[in-house]
Amino acid sequence: MPNLKRILEIIWVVLVILTIFAYLLGYLKYVNASLVAVLLVTTFIKGQLIIDYFMGLKDVKLKYRLIPTLWLGVVISLIAVAYYLPVTS
């Protein structure tokens, strides 16, 4: 039970660290093609942590957890496609 209580604090810290990471990439102008992939993966991780621990879907039947997870995965994957797919003129 005490561990369960601490999980929320750990999740918050991880979310803040990943947000600082994203901000520093942008602020220090380090954003390049390979780091965009890292940024999108960290965005997925942040979203999944919110879905599982803040929305509380980790303890709910899989189908209800899968809906936002699939949404997040599809949206981020298509953003990656839009970013990396070469433009043919």
Partner: protein, 199 residues
């Protein structure tokens, strides 16, 4: 010890109607996110140049604020869920404190966003300036309205906790509002890197 295999809840937290709304919001925002991403492909230079006008720092602060407010909301929900017959008053007081912090975060988010909007609109930028700003304004104003509504919902729940209105085994109302607030947070988690950082 025998409880190591936890049983899964049959339904998501809160009223199921809020989840229908959340799924509709997911679809709406997905279309806007992908509209932005695929429009950017066609004019990367314009999007990169226009993005310089938006303040990444205020976007970062707002992300931090929303994540923190979501944490406060989870703590409020926990206070109500863990309530016993004897701790009804204390649990409502505890939840009201967490909710007040979350509402203050919501107000801070809105304040920072209004400052950002007044800067952007003060530069003479509007919906038809270019495609980047069309998506920027549509996405961020639409999300702003969701934060406004979410803050209102949290305030209604807060008022109920102030009159010790939640009873043991009666957490559905607060879970419903909380689910909406976490959705607002989740949408911003995608919006922030997409519109403010990726170039």
């Amino acid at each position: 010890m025998s409880k190591s295999i936890a049983l899964k809840e049959p339904h998501p937290p809160g009223d199921f109607a809020i989840w229908v709304i959340i799924y509709v919001e997911f679809i709406t925002f997905a279309l806007l996110f992908l509209g932005y991403a695929f429009s950017r492909r066609l004019d990367v230079e314009l999007f990169n140049a226009s993005q310089l006008a938006v303040n990444q720092t205020s976007g970062f602060i707002n992300t931090f604020i929303l994540i923190t407010s979501s944490y406060f909301v989870v703590k409020a929900v926990q206070s109500i869920r863990n309530m016993t017959q004897e701790s009804q008053k204390e649990s409502n007081i505890q939840a009201s404190k967490w909710l007040l912090l979350a509402i203050l975060c919501g107000i801070a988010f809105l304040g920072i966003k209004i400052t950002e909007f007044s800067h952007i609109f003060g530069m003479g930028i509007h919906l038809s300036t270019n495609k980047y700003f069309m998506f920027y304004i549509m996405l961020t104003v639409f999300h702003f309205l969701h934060v406004l509504l979410g803050s209102g919902i949290l305030f209604i729940i807060y008022k109920k906790t102030k009159i010790y209105g939640y009873l043991p085994n009666d957490s559905k109302g607060i879970e419903t509002g909380a689910s909406y607030w976490h959705m607002v947070d989740l949408l911003w988690i995608v919006l922030f890197p997409l519109v403010y950082i990726i170039r």
